[in-house]
Amino acid sequence: MSDVLNPPQDNVATTAVPLKPLGKVLAVTSGKGGVGKTFVSANLAAALAKRGHRVLVLDADLGLANLDVVLNLYPKITLHDVFTGKAKLEEAIVRAPGGFSVLLAGSGMVEYSRLTPEVRDDFLRIISGLMPHYDIVLLDTGAGISDVVLFAVSLASEVLVVATPEPTSLTDAYATIKVLVGQQKRQNIRMVINQTARLGDGRAITTQLQQVLDRFVTTEPGRPIRLIHMGDIPSDPSVRQAIMRRQLLIQSTPGCPAALAISQLAVKLEDTVIKQTA
């Protein structure tokens, strides 16, 4: 153990980097899987695009996200080809049905799901290079609190946590928020509660989370955690239909309650994030 010349690669990369977050980048994360992260990312992007914004959605789960499945897109060139030098970045960006741009990781990216400093640098370079061309970049992160997820979130100026009213989802959302506060010293975290049964449920849940955080998570003086309730997405049978048909809800049934809620979310995001950082 005296001479450690060749440490294993993954040990080098297990720290959370305190990077300076980039402007206009919104990380969509959740803690628990299956709460509608990718659904929210895709439809929110479409809603923002409808309002005239240039939007890019990036598969920040490095190939494990289901963005391609949700959008029914299988491009020949992906982020993986960019990483391996087979293609240029512009070639990997595709136009999604909702009028926004998508950068899919491609299944080969799973190789890169171990965060080495090189992967980090490449990723950072790609995002910073893309930013000037868009009004907002959405990072569709993976479930859980892995290094990759934390890294992706660390690049974003804003975090949107998606949760459902289920206990498991709330617990995981809470754990994620704790980590983001503890590791990345984040103060403001935006919340959207998916699959609510009635009006006001989402706000009640956010308030509840806020109370538990206030009680159990100590922060530096003068830097309290603030959960910002961005809205509810009500339970809606149209959502299931759209997902099964692999369409965007915003396009297939724009007038249904869930689609309207997402449109409202887009307006709120426009007011608080896009206009602020623009």
Partner: protein, 325 residues
Amino acid sequence: MLRKSLEEAYRCQRTTGGNDAQAVCAVESYVTLMTTGKTMDFPSQTKNDPVRLKLSNIPYSVTSETVSSMINLSDLRLDDARALLEHDPASSLPDPEESPVAYLQSVIDNLCELSLKDPLTGLANRRHFRNVLSREIDVVARSGESALLLMLDIDHFKKVNDTHGHLAGDHVLQAVARCLASCVRPMDTVARYGGEEFAAILPNCPASYGKIVAERIREAVGNLSISVTPLVSIQVTVSIGGAYAPEWIRSTTALWTDRADIELYRAKAEGRNRVCIDRPPVLSVSAEEKSLLFGHLSMGDPAWITSVPNDASGVTAGGAMNRVN
């Protein structure tokens, strides 16, 4: 240890009339061992209940004397043990002529002590370290307290050996060991893990203090001026890796040391003379937090029973009200 069990047995008898069988067993095993295979009977006063009487009527001092008179030290093969202890400056043995029991006890105690220590540095050895570590895992699993394990490695120690000789290397190890021991609380365990690697177990060490403690140790070692020959003094640095035990979870000693080791590798890879500590397991959400997060869900607050449509819940609530009335 044997003396302790005898004392305990005796106290048990005196105060509560306690567990006779256990007490007798303890005394008997004590006596059996003391006299190498010969079981000794205590004089009993009544024939009906010899066991109880022989314990409760004989004070410890008498028992001890009785045992003493039965022990013949020359029957025991103590030469190896004696030789071992005579070479250890820390052990001192009483006069075997005066009290064979005290002598034997002292031999046992000193051997126990010796078996837990690293001979060069006087720190806990690997055996002792492993025992303390697994006990700490039990504590953490039941109490949820936050315990830190530090692995420390002297940087470029081989160079010290190569340049100044192995005796100098030993001096460095001893000086660093003394320094480590002086940097921690009495409740902490510092061990020589092997070679130039040390380990420290810090029970009840809050997450925010871990880094501070480790940095203090690192600086203290760095500030040492170790004289390896009358004319030459050298300085060394240490790399420190640390990991917290997962609270409320029964981990294993191997997993825990592995995580600390990984951090030590990282400290080495990042340039040595530095501290790397595994991020504390903040992921965990305690039972108390969970109950506050969604306690209202399980308690059936009507506002949270989300799957029931408005009109139906109204009926249910009404029905419940009627029953209460």
